[in-house]
């Protein structure tokens, strides 16, 4: 199996607190992987080091054959990693259309000078972007909300729009941070189908962080379990449900400590 993303011995410390320690992780180009763990296990921190928001204290991260640890987030996005956020972070003052359009920024051939001088090539590219944005929006049934300000969308639509925006950067790997948070069972069902659909349609790998075991078990083919920043198990859903360490971490002989970094 070839590897798309690999983390080797990644450790993140904030002051005296170790959020993630010695993490190894491998994701193939067509994987549907899940990262689970109790509150404060360091899941979002893993996302943040993969996307360049934080630099790992030590360890290496490679995407394809490029070392990306410590690169700026926008460069990592350019190399093919896109993400959504736990607490939706859309561009609040922009319309649905513009939210997605902004993500095309990355792949623009023409920049500043073309926007100023407006040669025919500029209009060709803009028309091309418009078409692609609409295509994407229509695939996810957001086309009819094109001109709506994104803050006026329903919660479910906002989550979906955030995924569309991430897809607009044409990623090889899509990171979803708690995509099912705040959804009802029907919506979760739809989300499960959506993620599978994205993987098939765009032929990309997906890594998601999720609390809801049902969603994770329903979507993921490969699961990593984190507890206190350490990977305690890895395998397919069947293996994970039987793993005694996982059961202990979740149900525990003692309640898991609260208040550790899940930044």
């Amino acid at each position: 199996m070839s590897t798309l993303l690999s983390l080797q011995g990644c450790t993140v410390r904030f002051g005296g607190l170790t959020a993630v320690s010695g993490l190894d992780l491998k994701i193939g180009p067509h994987d549907l992987a899940g990262l689970i763990g109790p509150n404060g296990a360091g899941k979002t921190t893993v996302f943040n080091i993969i996307t360049g928001v934080y630099r790992p204290t030590c360890g290496s991260i490679t995407l394809g054959d490029k070392a990306i640890a410590g690169m700026k987030p926008n460069r990592i996005a350019g190399l093919g990693i896109a993400r959504t956020f736990q607490n939706i972070r859309l561009f609040a003052s922009l319309s649905v259309f513009d939210n997605v359009r902004a993500a095309f920024n990355l792949r623009l051939k023409h920049g500043f000078s073309h926007a100023l001088f407006r040669f025919p090539a500029f209009y060709r590219e803009e028309a091309d972007v418009d078409r692609q944005v609409m295509e994407l929006l229509d695939i996810f049934d957001l086309g009819r909300h094109r001109d709506v300000l994104c803050k006026n969308l329903s919660y479910g639509d906002q989550r979906r729009l955030e995924i569309v925006r991430a897809l607009a950067t044409r990623p090889k790997l899509l990171l979803l941070d708690e995509p099912a948070a705040g959804m009802n069972p029907t919506e979760k069902e739809a989300l499960t189908r959506l993620v599978r659909f994205i993987k098939e349609k765009f032929e990309i790998a997906v890594l998601l962080v999720e609390h809801d075991m049902k969603v994770v078990m329903g979507i993921c083919e490969r699961i990593f379990v984190l507890d206190h920043g350490v990977k305690i198990a890895e395998g397919n859903p069947g293996e994970i449900t039987k793993n005694s360490k996982v059961i202990e971490a979740y149900l525990g002989e003692q309640p898991p400590e609260a208040g550790t970094a899940d930044a």
Binding site: T44, V53, F85, A263
Partner: protein, 332 residues
């Protein structure tokens, strides 16, 4: 000194560089002069400390820079200007020190009230709005106090009445230490001690610290945010008011725009010490005061007011958490 140099610059611009040069070369700053500048710097720093504490406290609880704080300092000076002729005649002879205290405390109370009113009318309705909105409002309040002051008191400088007769102390050898300097440093020290008591030992002080640590948790634990924020504004403004009077005693010419520069320098001091950090603000203020005095005494005196900004830019670029502050990681 500053004037001589600028005059010289006008008549013989080419000579100034040379003069500066010779001063350097002969190392003509004597030990006495050095200590003199140090004393002046520390007493200047005392004013800045009183103002800086207000910036830092408000930042601690609200995470915002109260642009109008320097103008509360100006109001303090004007309160003294207005109160002195009204109150001092009641305290003749030996009662004079009591009178000074009464004037000081009344002015502080007025400023505290002003601070509380400003917070209540201008900042409280905006508490959940974007920071920029509050910042713009603060600029508005600052302009309102400055130019409203000009409108009410007139734009010309007023001469502050002799609250205490300022004179140089005797028996200090070659050094000049004035009475106002002693009073400024003494009052500052007393107020700092009182502040430290309030913050560390009282319930409201505890609530203030809780709020600056984690507002949500503090509110959940039953801390009344409105009360604590009002209290913080009141406390900070009272200190600024005291600074205003002390300032006016040693620089008796007061005008409605007098708060701008000391305000900015005190702000720089707060950032230098680590904003939100009370001892840091005091340390930063003394440093700024000393640096300013030394620069003011050198041939670069006309750049004196640019120094504070340069210091600010350098700190923010290289150590944004300040000298005593801790770096914070932004949550994503």
């Amino acid at each position: 000194m500053a004037r001589t140099i600028s005059l010289l610059r006008r008549s013989h611009p080419e000579k100034v560089g040379l003069r500066q040069w010779q001063a350097w070369e002969h190392g003509n700053m004597s030990g006495t002069e050095f200590f003199q500048q140090l004393i002046n710097g520390v007493s200047l720093g005392a004013f800045y400390a009183l103002i800086a504490l207000g910036y830092t406290m408000v930042y601690g609880v609200l995470r915002f820079i109260n642009f109008a704080h320097g103008d509360v300092f100006m109001i303090g000076a004007f309160a003294g200007y207005w109160l002195t002729p009204k109150l001092m005649p009641h305290f003749p002879g030996a009662w004079m020190p009591v009178g000074v205290c009464v004037v000081l405390l009344t002015a502080m109370a007025l400023c505290a009230g002003l601070g509380i009113v400003i917070e209540k009318l201008a900042y409280r309705p905006l508490r959940s709005r974007p920071k920029l909105t509050v910042l713009i409002t603060a600029i508005g309040v600052s302009l309102l106090l400055e130019y409203g002051g000009q409108y009410l008191f007139g734009p010309d400088p007023k001469s502050f009445p002799d609250l205490i007769t300022d004179s140089a102390l005797e028996g200090t050898g070659a050094l000049t230490i004035t009475r106002s300097q002693i009073i400024a440093v003494g009052v500052t020290a007393a107020l700092l001690a009182a502040l430290s008591f309030i913050v560390k030992r009282t319930k409201l002080g505890l609530a203030m610290r809780a709020l600056s640590n984690n507002p949500t948790a503090a509110a959940l634990m039953g801390v009344n945010l409105d009360t604590v924020i009002s209290f913080t504004f009141g406390l900070g403004s009272a200190l600024a008011g005291a600074a205003g009077i002390l300032w006016a005693i040693s620089n008796p010419s007061i005008d409605p725009l007098m708060g701008i520069l000391p305000g900015i320098k005190a702000f720089v001091a707060a950032v230098l010490g680590g904003i939100g950090n009370l001892p840091g603000a005091a340390v930063g203020a003394v440093l700024i005061g000393v640096v300013e005095t030394f620069v003011g005494g050198s041939s670069f005196s006309s750049y004196r007011d640019a120094i504070a900004f340069s210091v600010l830019i350098i700190i923010l670029l290289f150590r944004p958490a300040g000298l005593l502050g801790k770096a914070q990681v932004e949550k994503v």
